[in-house]
Amino acid sequence: MDMDSLFYWLGIAVVTVPCALVLVLGLSALLDVRMGESAISQLTQFAVLLSLLPAIAILILMVVSGKRYVPIELGDWVSIPEVHFHFHWKFIFDRLSVPFVILALVLSGVVGAFTRRYLHREEGYHRFFLLYSLFVAGITISALAGTIETLFFGWELVGLSSALLVAYFHEREHPVRNGQRVWSVYRLADASFLLGALLMHHLTDEGDFGSFVGKGTWPDGSASLSEGHALQVGLLLLLAAAGKSALVPFSGWLPRAMEGPTPSSAVFYGSLSVHLGAYLLLRVNPILEASWQLQLVVITLGLISALFGSIMSRVQSDVKSSLAYASLTQVGIIVAEIGLGFYYLALVHIMGHACLRTLQLLRAPTLLNDYHAMENAIGMRLPDRKNKFGNLIPESIKRWWYRFGYERGYMDQILDSWIVEPFVAVFQWADRQERRWTDWLSTEPSRESDKTESHPESTERGA
């Protein structure tokens, strides 16, 4: 077997094994086949390992052979050559995707092993692992995507699994509301992504990253777009990245996402999902370089997000929210680094931050225990670190910032009152006008649905 064939089959294994896991767990759920906890977790860990090992093998082969760009072409899924429409399955292994996919699979494996005990005898054990497998498949496809359509495919899988995992404890109302909030932000981000992708298609007639970011391996490519076009496409992709990475003004969903079980918080919102937006920016770095205005916007957005995250993380009243905003601070800095052109630094920053945050979030449920252990070890209370700089700020300003941070920058309230409420009000008004029209035509109340009970299922009434 020659080197290219070896790369090809290893690459196929990395991508297909997580997809096969989704298929197995999904089919068992659909056909109502009950799988035991140990069978589910062992299958999951085996699948992650079977995906991780070929990824590591590819890394070793790349280092040994000196190859820095390994494309894996699976051909066209759909093709209409007459109108230049094609959905091309292509995965690339390069200096960006290989570290990220290995990171994703290592952290997913760790969290999978952690969850085995953490969710032992939970009602939704099977559901968690089904969504987890969907996430692993999504993040693997996104990380290795060689075309914008392939990236969008994985991006959507990550979004859906994340939203449903936030609502994992679905017998309570709050997690569900938060899951809905996350999904709504993701949908808008996805819409922006799709528009950016289509605009890119429109401008270049290509969906392949290699084609629209020019020749050269990552990060040395150069965009084949003009400055104006790069700005248009870049802003749409930046909006998509901002939604996915919870940058300002979408930061409100990040602490809400912590309503999910700790393992999902750790792997998704603490380490992987939250970095996916930054990853997208890294992948399209030549587009950023093609427009200085775009770079400026990226840097500004990153720094504002970092500042907001820093303020908010200091005053949250629960550890997971505090960690969520601490993540935002780091993600903001990573985005600013990308804007400044420090791509390798940003990649290393992502990897370090993802590992640290996963560890912190997995330890979060036992934080008090850890504190006690440390205090017992040193034989005294942990020192209260006072910030000398803080003493220079007037008390009134400190109080204002405290309130601002505690209320999470009023970002959710602003989005609600400026966008959601007017939107809902307009359509509720339209609904009332429709009611008037049909009532007038019917010469009687036209809506039988008004008599619908709020909870007919509670009346214990059979069919």
Binding site: D32, H170, E171, W183, V424, S446, S449, T452, R461
Partner: protein, 478 residues
């Protein structure tokens, strides 16, 4: 014109028509349900046979073997072509799964005889080209829901007003078209009237209130069957597309786009499941119309693909809501119900069908929606952007409904609400189509693209001759 190897079309139409009389004659409701399943299965068998036979012919169009109607009237009334070939089995499947998933407890409220009659009319309509036969069938199709609402002592004024207008516009428009052959201005006037009629039948804003009224007052199954085959869109393709000028079609596309966004916004604020479903269906049906009116091969292909995906996915979505309703009564969306634990199968299927309808990756709608948006961006980028926004709003609405119905509370019902065997069969069949079509989209896309090319070519030939649509010439199949 090439001939099929068997009279598939006539049999697929006659089977439910005969079944309708037979079932009407049977007094026992359970037996009527069982016989309806048999007749619907036979109709699906013949419709599928027609599709396979037609595919093997590798022709653009064909008519039945032993075509009795053509022999009697010397005219090809029932013709299958690349557009209608997959729509016939799709329509038959929609009827079969609806009848199959009707619970025994609901057989007294659901008229099987009228359902089979409606199926025969729908299949006949989808087998027709623009002709008086099609006009009459479109009018007849409006009668069964009206009769059902009258029988249930519901006020039919909203429905009657809108459908009366539809019938009037269609009759006048088609009469003018036939009388004024060759005259450009008369063709334009006829086109305007027929367009108004078909758009009204499709539920285009602001003439859509009859659709919500139908869902409010008719049986849920009847409303689903009247709306999901998208007969209005079929009428647009057959009667409007060949004669309308480009500028008129672009205006229709804009009106359809407004409807798509309006309906998706309305779906988000509904507090009752039937109305929510109605708006979701309207939004998706309007997206199909947007693609049809773009008049580009890629836009048309996208619309035809979305048509199939919407037909399959929203039928499944509607049937899930109907199954829940038949267990607990009308479903309010103003609060959480927490039904997941009692009906996990329905919950999963609800989510799958809802996601398929918005074009989620891995489902039948994914590539279809991509094609549609690409086609829209090609003509007007802003239209493409608005299509994406409408799809995003629909996605938010679908998950909103999922959370409201299946989560947010501890289960409180004391009885089993799980899917019965016939419902499970329906779920599995539709799931196979949704996932299968999502994983292997190539053949379906190729077929729809070829149909789009033919429609475009047909339209161009009509424009050149500037007269009533001539018969279409066959071209080699890819």
């Amino acid at each position: 014109m090439p001939e099929l190897h068997f009279p598939w079309l006539e049999y697929s139409i006659l089977t439910p028509a005969v079944g309708s009389i037979f079932v009407w004659w049977i007094g026992d409701r359970q037996a009527a349900r069982n016989w309806s399943i048999v007749f619907c299965t036979m109709a699906l068998f013949f419709a599928t046979g027609e599709w396979i036979d037609f595919s093997l012919l590798a022709s653009f169009e064909a008519h039945d073997h032993w075509d009795i109607i053509a022999f009697l009237f010397n005219q090809d009334v029932f013709v299958v072509d690349e557009l209608s070939a997959p729509l016939l089995p799709l329509g038959a499947l929609i009827y079969l799964v609806t009848v199959l998933s009707t619970l025994r407890t609901k057989v007294n409220r659901f008229s099987f005889a009228w359902t089979l009659f409606a199926e025969a009319v729908m299949l006949a309509t989808l087998s027709c080209r623009a002709s008086w036969a099609m006009v009459i069938l479109l009018i007849i199709a409006t009668i069964p829901p009206w009769i059902e609402m009258r029988r249930r002592d519901r006020c039919t004024r909203v429905y009657t007003t809108h459908m009366g207008l539809f019938v009037g516009l269609l009759l006048i428009g088609y009469s003018i078209l036939q009388l004024g052959r060759g005259s450009e201005s008369i063709t334009l006037l006829a086109g305007v009237l027929i367009s108004a009629a078909t758009l009204l039948r499709s539920g285009i804003f602001p003439f859509h209130c009859w659709t919500t009224d139908l869902f409010e007052k008719a049986a849920f199954g009847t409303a689903i069957l009247f709306m999901t085959p998208l007969t209005g869109a079929y009428a647009v393709i057959r009667m409007v597309l060949p004669i309308a000028p480009d500028w008129a079609l672009h205006w229709i596309a804009i009106v359809s786009l407004i409807t798509a966004v309006y309906a998706s916004g309305m779906a988000l604020v509904q507090v009752e499941a039937r109305r929510f479903f109605c708006y979701l269906l309207l939004s998706n049906a309007s997206l199909v119309l947007v693609g049809l009116e773009l008049v580009t091969p890629i836009g048309l292909a996208g619309a035809l693909c979305v048509w199939l995906s919407v037909g399959v996915s929203l039928t499944g979505f509607g049937l899930t809501l109907r199954a829940i309703e038949s267990r607990i009564g009308r479903v309010s969306l103003s609060d959480y119900h927490g039904l997941y634990q009692q009906m996990p199968g329905f919950a999963g299927f609800f989510l799958l069908t809802g996601l398929a309808s918005i074009g989620f990756p891995g489902t039948i709608g994914f590539i279809a929606m991509e094609l549609l948006v690409e086609g829209a961006v090609e003509v007007y980028p802003i239209i493409g952007a608005v299509v994406v926004v409408a799809a995003a709003l629909n996605g938010i609405a679908v998950l909103h409904a999922y959370f409201r119905i299946f989560t947010g509370r501890n289960p409180s019902a004391q009885i089993s609400l799980k899917a019965r065997l016939p419902e499970r069969v329906s779920i599995l069949v539709l799931t196979a189509l949704i996932v299968g079509g999502g994983l292997v989209p190539g053949p379906g896309i190729a077929s729809r693209y070829h149909a789009a090319i033919e429609l475009d070519r047909h339209r161009e030939s009509v424009k050149e001759s500037n007269s009533v649509p001539p018969p279409v010439k066959s071209i080699p199949h890819p």
